[in-house]
Amino acid sequence: MTLNLEYLTEADIESRIRDLLADAGMTLAELRRKGATFALDRSERAILDEIEDLEFLRESA
């Protein structure tokens, strides 16, 4: 097994969230609204999950 682990600073977290939102082409509110009704495709859903992971990290930063 390869351990693929990254430590992220607050700036890294913000930058990744910006990049993911650009990939999705939606605002976070729009992603969340569509996510709540399962109106996201698989890739958009994965982006929302990744953003929420980053927000979880940000809670500690």
């Binding site: 390869t2 693929n4 990254e6 990290l57």
Partner: protein, 248 residues
Amino acid sequence: MPDNIRSESLTSKVEEFLLELFDTLNRTIPGIPNDLFHVIVDARGRNVAIRQTTREGITLCVESTPVLYLGVSFRCTWSADESFLAIEESTFELSTKDSPEPLLRYDYLRSPTGHIPGAHINVHAHRDEMVFAMVAAGAQDRGALRHRAMDSGKMPRLANLHLPVGGHRFRPSLEDILEFAIAEFGVDCLPSHRTALDEGRVRYRTRQLMAAVADDPESAAEELRRIGYTVEAGNPSRSPRTDRTRAW
């Protein structure tokens, strides 16, 4: 503790946790990649998020044809005494190739909000009678949320229900979900799957049992005495953690 020692200790705990997960999956499902999980940690080394590297999830095949995807993710915190990773949230999700909406989703939330059970299943299916029962609940408790949703044109769905599954300590493990997929959907598995699932389940349940004993040591001691062990309480004895034993 210096930051570098703290980080090494956290990294090794994450590695230990992932090795167990990887071992179970790699001995159960064919074709598990070596870089299955991606882990991100905040710079202070406090919060950890673990997710599979492929966005669609882990491919589950039937007779070598991809049929289902298994999503696995964890959000953990490094305990205050830096001895263990506490699971804050976990999700095991089964979905099909063609629909982004899961079939089933097993969630665990250590601190749930909105009067839902910490450990629960959402079943993404439809049954008219269930919708009828949900509407008939009126605006009591979680029914109030549904009423607000209905006011904006959204009908209640079975998937909105959070079916409780054992609280903090007795919730299903990843091994249970894998075995369910093998038994019910005929998912391809390796000859080593039986041992892998049994060993993983024993490991998980032993850990959960130890945590349950710590939640209610007096009940554990009473049962141990009943079956012949000699157990003495420390001084002072520990009170039960009712926030854990009462939680649904």
